[in-house]
Structures are given as structure tokens and as C-alpha cells.
Symmetry: C2
Subunit: 334 residues, 2 copies
DNA sequence: ACTTGGCACTCACGAGGAAGGAGTGCCAGT
DNA sequence: ACTGGCACTCCTTCCTCGTGAGTGCCAAGT
């Protein structure tokens, strides 16, 4: 059905359209790309491609533009992830190496990605659930008030304030500290419930009420529904491609304000080691049906970029992959 | 020069224009607002107002619209901060009371403000410099690596990782901990340099090298250039008023991505107890010359909203003031 | 001295129409 | 299976013209 030349025509259409943002006609296409056939032949191929749903045209006498299905085929079979230039690699490296803490790494990654791709960039903080506990600090804020500060191996710091039903002494707090410290140090957060399950019985009776409160906070807010954080940047780039958005930017901007949506974007990844692309209607999020998302995991979290379906997939996939790898290495090494 | 009726005409123009987003003409104005004079009279007043620079028109046969100067006069002399309805007050209260930690307070405030005003909301995290130290924790991550976790009275938590030139023992770390703890507890961060100035001499010689490193990080990164954080939300609201932006949203979105710019917006406040308005050209930030900003301090930080100059100043000022007060109370009480 | 009705003038805006042109689909020829 | 030719579609651009909202100014009224 789709012989090699038809695929070549599709590739040419996608590349031309991405480049010029104008529906591409048979004549210009046959000229510009060295297909070695006449416009008429290209027209026939185009008609076939249109029958299969890979391209459309807005009205009878307009050029063709790729459909979501067309982009999909292009990404899957016709394009390759484009490696970055060595200059770009160096830029990434030096830019990310300057980061002083996790917040900084994430912030810089967002900037970097949005500047490299000229799209909206999204970076998830390392997920808590898969993280290892490096330190759990219990701070005695007030007689009946504690603050838990959890530090993970990826450098993330989470805190929770906790009101106790009864007053506790400094001494009891340091007992708590050592008990939790011993049990949790080096444990992964998902394993915490198991590691802590027999705590109440094992502890001295006097400590139990406090211990149970603290335990429930640790398990409840840190393990069961760990707070996922996400950084976003480069929203201004949306206006750069404003022409590509059929209606307005409104729904897109609205969707991008929802943490849940962003997590969904980044989280829906099957294979954690490759770049992943969602195109237009493939997005489960209403309001992002006219956008494409390129994502990848860097290990304990994900990152990616979002832009119009008419984007340079090869390059963007390259950038996302490169940044994901650098960030992954950076976090693993620290 | 500007008698009462002229001022009344200006108010009517501003209110009408904010309401309808259409240049307002003498006839409709004389009808809709009970001015008790004929259109011709209104026209004369308009001509006077235009001579003074309070209003303009885009072309000869179009209605009048307020200039920045006109809005300024309106805000200063013709409008009052509009108190919120009791329903709104209750909504704010219940919405903010649900917050569990500082991050949550800030995030919720941003949402709240952007929803109340239908504009872009900006909330600064409580500034570190004015904050009191509640706790400084020193965590021994690795033999030659420490993490400092600073907790302030406003609930803010800052961390810094610190590489030491030499290996330190757990014992030394706990000494450090107690030394810093004693000196800093309850001190304001701006007073830290004084409180810590004689530390190296007072400490046991063996501890000095480490102590100096830690000291320099505390002073350098936490005191001298404390990291200001800012949360922003409701960007999608910009598209709601897209018609009001002469060019595109681009420069506005770009400006909003700069932390520095946001800080400038919120920071340039003289009187910390009242609502503050910057209108159009009054904004020192290029790119925000077509926007107005309504801000107020809530105590250790500031917050505000940003929108087109054509905004409902009375209501927005009311919302900003109300939220600032609630947030201020909330943080002071915790 | 201020206010008012009248009146000519300006100018954005939308409708209607024609010319231009890019691009298609189809067919017959090689 | 490819190609050139050709009629057709229909978007785009440009023009014109009528309409109406709104103004500025003047002379008359209070």
C-alpha cells in the first residue's frame, strides 16, 4: 500500500510543513526535495496518503498538511532522534554543572530545555516513592508540635508540620529521632511501611502515642500520597507558535496550570529508557489535543517538552534525551 | 481646572470602559450614567479631560478611553477599595485554613488570588532576610559533605549542600550543630553576621576549619544573597484579556518568567500597610508597559495581581488587600 | 458664563464583488 | 507506471462604497 516513495513523500511533506508552516503543494514539493518525479506523480501519491489518513488539506485548492496519524508514522518510521552538536552538549553540561542543589538542578533543566527546543518545558522533581531515605530529621518546634524533614538520596527535601495531641519532651523527641533514623536510613520510601510496621510494639510504652502520630504522618503524607512537584517554564514560547493553535492559547495555558495534568503528561511512560512522543489527539488531556509532548525519564522522575503538533520532532527528541541523560547522571552521581 | 463634574465624567468613562471594553462616546455616557447634562456638555468636558491628558481616542470619530494618567487619577481620587462580600471572605478563610505547610499556603494563595481577580497572581515566599531562625539542622550526608537545613519562623525551609575540604566526624558535626543552634536560635537572619562574628575564636581549635566553611555558607548564601522564591499562577487569565494587549502576549509572558522581574514588581512598595498600584507606563519593566500591577505586603513578603490597565481596580485592590491580610495573619499565628 | 441643539465632517468597519493564483483531480498519451 | 495538459475550485487580496458612531464647533438659549 505504502511503497517507499510514498513514505518519502510523507517525510517531505512533514519536513516542509514543519519548516515553513505552510500547506505544501505538489509542485513545490517535487522541486524542493529531489524526488526525481513530476508533480503529477506526487499528486497521485498524495491522494493515496490522504486516503490512508496521513495527510489532509483544509480546502480543495490548498496544499497538504500532515494529520496526527501522519506525524505518528513520521516519528515512528521516518525520523531519527537527532543527536546534539558537541557545542550543545558542552553548553548543557556546563549549565547543569553549576547547580548547587536539587531545586537549582530542576530550575536550570527547565530553562535549558525550553531554550534548546523553543517550546514549553516541564521537569518533574525526583519522585519520592522510589527514593531512598537519606535522613529523617524531627524538629521540636513547640511543646506539641513537630516538624518532620525528610531528605532523600536525590537531594529532595520534604517537610511536614505535625500537631500532636499531647505535649512531648525534648528527650522523647530525640528517642523518636533515633528510632526512626535507624529504621529508615537507606530504606526506599515505598518500603517504609514494611520497615516500620512493628514499630509501635517494639517501642517503650510511654513513647507509643507520639510514635503512632508521627508514624501515621510519615506513612500517610510521605508514602501513600507523596507530593509530586513539577517545574514548568518557557510558556512564552507558546506565543511563538501561536499560529499553530487553532483556537486560542487559553485551554493550553489552563491545562498547564494543573499539576495533575502535567504529571499525567510526564508519567504516562512505558519504557523508561527511551524518548516518548504523544501527538495531538493521542493526548488524554482535553485542551492539549492540538499539542504534542516529547518526554523521557531521567530515573527517579520525568521531563519533557510540549509544543504544537507541528514541531521538529527529531531535534526535540534529541534535546529531551540529552537533557534527561545529563540530569539522570547528575542526580545519580551526587 | 477639573471641576467636580469633569471628574464625574472621567469616573464614568473609566467605569464604562472597564465594563464594556469599548471606547465610550458622549451620548451613551450621558444616557447611561445619570449625569443630568446633555451630550454636548459631556463633549466639552471630554475635550477638557483630553487636553489634560486623562483620556484619548484612537481616531477622530471614536469614543474616548482613559490614559494611564486617567486611571491613575481614578485610582487615587475617584475609587475606593471595594471590600469583599462576606461569602468571599468565608471562602478565602476556609480555603487558606486548609493549608498544611508554607508551600501549601503560597500555592493556595496564588490560586485564590487568580480566581478572585481573574488575573495573573504572584505571591512571594516570606523573605529570608527578615525572618527569624527557628532551627538550623546540620545533616552529615557523607564524610566530607554536610547539608544545612534552615527553618524559619514563617515556616520556610531552605537547604544547602556543602562540600568540606576535609573529613569530619559525627561528633564534630554534633558539636557544630549545638554551637550554631545556640547562637542562631531566635535570631533574625539579618542579625546573623553579628551573632556569629566571634564564633571562630570562641570555638575549640580543632573545630575551626569546618566551622569556618559552614559559617561562610550560612553567611554567604543564606544571609547575603538569600534566595527569594516566587509563585505565579493564573497565566491563562491573560488570554481572557487578550484584546487589551496591543501587540501580543509574548513580552508579558516573557517578563513573567523572570524571577527578578517579579520580585521587582512586588518589592517596589513604599508603605507596607496599604495596597499599591502601578499603572501601565509607571512600570519600570519593559514588556509590562501595558499592564497594571496591584500589590501589597503581607508582612515578610508581598503578593499581588497583574492584568491589563483596563482592569477593575476597586475590586482587585479589595481582593489583594483581603488575601494579603489573611496570609499575614496565618503566618503570624503559626 | 455655562449649557444646549444643530450640523457638517471624519473615519473605522463591513458588505459586496472582481481579479489573481495556488493547487487539485482527472484523463489521455507515452 | 509516470507524465503533461487542462478545467475547476476556492482562498486570498484588493478595491469600492455605504453606513453610522462620534466628534468639533457655532450660534442660540438660560
Amino acid at each position: 500500500m505504502l511503497d517507499d516513495r510514498k513514505l518519502e513523500v510523507l517525510r517531505a511533506i512533514v519536513e516542509d510543513f514543519v519548516d515553513t508552516n505552510e500547506p505544501v503543494g505538489s509542485k513545490t514539493l517535487a522541486e524542493r526535495h529531489g524526488l526525481g518525479v513530476s508533480p503529477a506523480t506526487v499528486r497521485n501519491d498524495m491522494a493515496a496518503l490522504e486516503d490512508e489518513g496521513y495527510i489532509t488539506h483544509l480546502h480543495t485548492s490548498a496544499g497538504r498538511i500532515p494529520t496526527d496519524k501522519g506525524y505518528r508514522l513520521f516519528v515512528d518510521r521516518l525520523s531519527q532522534v537527532k543527536p546534539l552538536s558537541s557545542a550543545e552538549r558542552r553548553a548543557i553540561q556546563s549549565f547543569l554543572e553549576g547547580a548547587v542543589d536539587l531545586d537549582d538542578v530542576v530550575t536550570r533543566s527547565v530553562r535549558l530545555l525550553s531554550q534548546l527546543t523553543q517550546q514549553v518545558a516541564v521537569v518533574q522533581y525526583p519522585s519520592l516513592s522510589r527514593a531512598e531515605v537519606r535522613h529523617l530529621e524531627i524538629v521540636h518546634l513547640a511543646p506539641n508540635r513537630l516538624m518532620l524533614v525528610l531528605i532523600t538520596d536525590s537531594g529532595r527535601v520534604e517537610q511536614r508540620v505535625l500537631e500532636l495531641p499531647a505535649v512531648v519532651s525534648d528527650d522523647e523527641v530525640s528517642q523518636l529521632r533515633s528510632v526512626f533514623g535507624q529504621r529508615l536510613h537507606g530504606a526506599r520510601l515505598v518500603d517504609a511501611p514494611r520497615a516500620l510496621s512493628d514499630l509501635p510494639e517494639a517501642a517503650p510504652p510511654a513513647l507509643r502515642p507520639v510514635l503512632t502520630s508521627v508514624l501515621s504522618v510519615v506513612l500517610g503524607t510521605l508514602v501513600e500520597r507523596p507530593e509530586e512537584r513539577i517545574a514548568i517554564g518557557g510558556t512564552a514560547n507558546l506565543t511563538r507558535h501561536a499560529l499553530d493553535f487553532p483556537m486560542t492559547l487559553r485551554p493550553v495555558l489552563e491545562a498547564l496550570e494543573e499539576q495533575v495534568v502535567l504529571l499525567k503528561l510526564i508519567g504516562e511512560v512505558n519504557d523508561p529508557t527511551t524518548v516518548h512522543v504523544k501527538i495531538g489527539e493521542e493526548n488524554s488531556v482535553e485542551g492539549l489535543r492540538s499539542t504534542s509532548v516529547v518526554t523521557m525519564n531521567y530515573g527517579p522522575g520525568g521531563l519533557g517538552v510540549l509544543g504544537p503538533t507541528r514541531m521538529d520532532y527529531s531535534t526535540n527528541m534529541g534535546s529531551v534525551r540529552a537533557v534527561a541523560r545529563y540530569v539522570g547522571d547528575l542526580l545519580a552521581g551526587s
